[in-house]
Amino acid sequence: MVPLALFGQEVSTTIKVIASNDQLPIIGATIQLTNQDSPGGWLTNANGTAVIPLERSSEITISYLGFIGVNKTINPGEAVTISLEEDLLGLNEVVVTGAFAPTTMRHSLYKVKKFDAALIEARGAVNLSDVLQTQLNLKTIQDDVLGTRIVMQGISGPNVKILIDGIPLVNGTGGEFDLSQINMNNVERIEIVEGPLSVQYGTNALAGTINVITKAHTGEDWNVNSSLYYESVGQYNADFTLAKGWDNTSVSIGGARNQFNGFSSTEERKKNWVPRTQYLVNAKLRTKIRNLNLVAAVDRLWQNSTSHGNATRAFNNSTNKISDIANDNYNNTDRLNASFVIEGKLSEKGYLNLVNGFSSFEQSSTKYLQDIIDDIRWLSSDAEDHDTTRFETYTFRGTYVYGNTDKKEGLYLTTGYEASLNYAEGGRISTEAKGNVNEYGLFSALEIPISKRFKVQPSVRYTYSNSYDTREINFLNANLPLLPSLNVMYTKDENFDFRLSYGQGYRTPSVRELYYEFIDANHYIVGNKNLRPEVGSNLNASGTFRREIFGAKAAFTSSLFFSRIDNKIDLIQIVDRDNLPDEVPKTVPVARVYENIPNFKSYGMNLTAEIAWPNGFRLNPGLGLLARSGSEADDRFYNSLEANINACHYLKEWDTKINLFYKYNGAISEFSRNQDGEIGVLTLDPYQTLDISLSKPLMSGRIFTTLGAKNLFDVTDISLEGEGSKGLVLQTGREAFYPISWGRTIFIKINYLIN
């Protein structure tokens, strides 16, 4: 503020900032001169006031986290009181997914769904699957071997891009991500964008993108945080984080141990939810060089899980006795993610984001025979019962945005590159898989403010792959390897905005889909090196209307989407066993191969509302309708209905938050053709879930406890009706039910914080 003194007499001007709902002073609100370039400013004191020297009438910007910022012109010597309104609908919250530079919910061209740490706590969520379970358009599917998979807008896991801090994660052995391997203990928020973000993130981002944003330590002191979690099904978790900050630098390290004892509704030895123990460590270093933020992060997960088999009568050679013997598979998973990000402003109008990431997944599987009567265990002598498979992904992405990213005004021009290098090897990968499946992209986007209310952003990505012909994307039917997208946003005023996005997406056949080779006495599941890439297109329109009702701020959003995927890759039953290779027994119980399906369609509609009362009561009801079809269904559509209500209330006198999560999941069908060309339909019955929780800080905020009950309707297995063989239930074999949950439980989480 030194230069101002050169121009004339400064007059002390007093500004008091209060909250509009309770008229209490806001401590620590930031006051800045609106048109200033330097980051300096003033903070309000314990009375909510700040005294600033002004020499002439100036516009100032007053902001405070969780409140809607205000710009006001004030005169020197004035004493003004400014009332800030709470940002109940989160419009000014920062989002990073989909946008090329960080922006706010209000300004983002994409409708971003956001789940913050408070929601994660209130859900008692241990992993990503727990958070997503009660959300609209999302389904999580449990498998005893492959873990928890996701279905978004009726499209399954491989088409959902999963990112941690913007860095793609390598999928697991099932070709899909196991959501239970992303822990929530270090997560600040989760952002979800439905529809393709292929220009931004390349392959896989067809159905949608889930970006997990991890916590970053700010401040200049020590911070020790640990928590304990218990859930009555048999989950015992503990985690610990230690962080220290300096001027521009912070370091945090953390670790966690999660133990789950497994669950089976059938009381069998074979559990639908296998017992597992996870160990996690993470470390993050942040520093700032001029205006650039540098973040290096690494996290690692080790998981031991055991898939017990059912014991059956057998003769034990070693004891010479008839006994009950089971096949038990011991799986060890080692997941490593590392990243280095440089991000920030290079100049007033230049924003740079360089992301470099590495993600690896290694799973080893060992089969033991277990005599459960004499408790003797021995290793299977069959070599094909043991193997180790490894997947790796390197990602290098750079984005440069030219434009006034702070004020979110004017033209933005974005250019960027991305390289994605993928590699796999091991027992279940064909030796034909030579080298990498690599993909390189160049992208560009231009955000054009046509008028104050109207923005459009055309964008395009050029892509090249070393393993298939990207011209199959066939842009404009001209064999161009280009992916287009178009975003349109209309903001009438504070109370109405409308977004339209059209995007093409694509997905390269993964290394697994090309070269997988799981062949043993019971399985013949193989990749197909002749697969073609999936090409999808998606149209998404959503409008949000905000108004006050019954003293509450409310936002009503309705959205429509339509998506179509050509050449969708699916695991298909091999019906004609005579085509199996000679060395494969024709009677093998499971014979499947990856194939392209000509087309797949899904469309849907969502109605959601967000209603927030200033007294702390919030209500989020939602309704979703999904219809799916495609060449496999003779264009017959299969509908599915969903509804949810999330409600929470803050009881001020008790300093306690009450949360309720309800979801109705309508029947959902999977369809496929059988050998006669008839359509087989397998339908999962409807079910509903209800969770409640209470959360309360104790000991002046040092302890935070959450106590709750999950799955009050005691849902466990949901039946499947009909004849069908793939899709949602593909991996589960031929059982007539699907394990949805482990029944009613209570949980408690205690979080202890030392500052």
Binding site: N317, T319, N320, S381, T587, V590
Partner: protein, 357 residues
């Protein structure tokens, strides 16, 4: 082959002896006490047959895919290898040279009871050609088809000629009947092979079993091998009825329905309800014996749902009273189908004891 066979016998003898010298675990009250217990390693793909000689406690292991047809040494019957789905179809009114396709023809298999008058080649005639499906290998791959004609047959031998359906690979051969009950012939290796050991009582083997409807029941809609007359391999114990072995079956729950439901009444019965310990020689006569090849057959096991899990119920409460060729009497019961090093299917374990007065 003789050398191999004696080797196999020797190995088994050693195995058996070494089993006996091991310290037997101390039996506990709630455990099954075993008598002489043997495990026959057929392999989960049923690629091996195991011949059982009860009086000597001998198991002889023979690979399945070594022969297609077997000539009765002291008669005119010809049997086929049902352990690998060998089948025969007759071609009406065509000469050997004229046959070039089996289109539309229905294949026949040997009767499951081993009745020599009811084999796939029952009623064969000299110089009348037929088509032989050589069955499958251990992975289920088809081994191809030959047109075959027996050109002469005497009490000491036979001459036959065979070729591919297109006439290639023509072979004409004379074979001399050897010792034993049958002379086994391989069209693949074009020679006689020795298969059966001496003095066996029953053999654990795969057999071709029809699943689903017979084609005659479907009339015009019948598509043999597709919607009817579909044959698959199933494990069975076939007695040496040709050698005079007979079996009486004691099934305390014979009246209960046999099915694949794990919760059905029969499938819940246990070895505790077996009469094994109390059965005596007189029971062999009072129950009444059978000399059908499948007198034991597949009655000691049944697959349970879901079939893909490959779990079999073993009817260990059923006791088979066996009269061997030398008029020794034994009681036999099956205890498990899983066994061997990795506790896999295809390793039936049975116990037996001398049947006392």
């Amino acid at each position: 082959m003789k050398l191999l066979q004696s080797l196999v016998l020797a190995v088994f003898a050693i195995l058996l002896l070494s089993n006996c010298t091991e310290d037997d675990p101390i039996p506990q009250d709630d455990e099954i006490e075993l008598g002489a217990t043997l495990t026959a390693s057929m392999g989960s793909d049923l690629s091996t047959q195991v011949y059982v000689n009860l009086s000597e406690g001998l198991l002889t292991t023979v690979p399945v895919n070594t022969w297609e047809i077997a000539f009765e040494n002291n008669g005119t019957a010809i049997k086929t290898n049902t352990a690998k789905k060998v089948a025969v179809t007759n071609v009406e009114g065509q000469s050997f040279d004229e046959i070039n396709t089996d289109g539309g023809l229905v294949y026949a298999y040997d009767a499951e009871d081993g009745d020599l008058s009811n084999t796939a080649l029952a009623g064969w005639e000299v110089n009348v050609p037929f088509i032989l499906d050589m069955g499958i290998d251990q992975n289920g791959n088809t081994l191809g088809k030959k047109k075959v004609m027996i050109t002469s047959h005497s009490s000491t031998g036979a001459s036959l000629q065979y070729a591919n359906l297109d006439g290639t690979d023509f072979i004409s051969t004379d074979l001399t009947f050897g010792a034993g009950d049958f002379t086994f012939y391989s069209l693949i290796s074009q020679q006689s092979v020795s298969v059966e050991p001496d003095n066996w009582d029953f053999v654990l083997t795969g057999v071709s079993v029809r699943t689903g409807a017979p084609c005659v029941a479907l009339g015009g809609g019948a598509m043999p091998g597709i919607n009817c007359d579909v044959y698959r391999l199933s494990a069975a114990a076939l007695i040496n009825h040709y050698g005079g072995v007979e079996v009486a079956v004691d099934d305390p729950f014979a009246s209960l329905e046999l099915n694949d439901d794990p919760e059905s009444e029969k499938n819940l019965k246990t070895i505790e309800e077996s009469n094994y310990n109390s059965l005596g020689l007189s029971d062999f006569y009072s129950i009444g014996s059978s000399s059908a090849g499948d007198a034991i057959g597949r009655s000691w096991l049944h697959i349970l749902t879901p079939h893909s899990s490959g779990v079999y119920k073993i009817y260990d409460f059923v006791t088979y009273l066996v009269k061997d060729q030398d008029d020794n009497f034994y009681k036999v019961r099956f205890l498990a189908y899983k066994g061997g090093e990795n506790a896999e299917n295809g390793n039936p374990t049975f116990e037996y004891a001398l049947l006392e007065e």
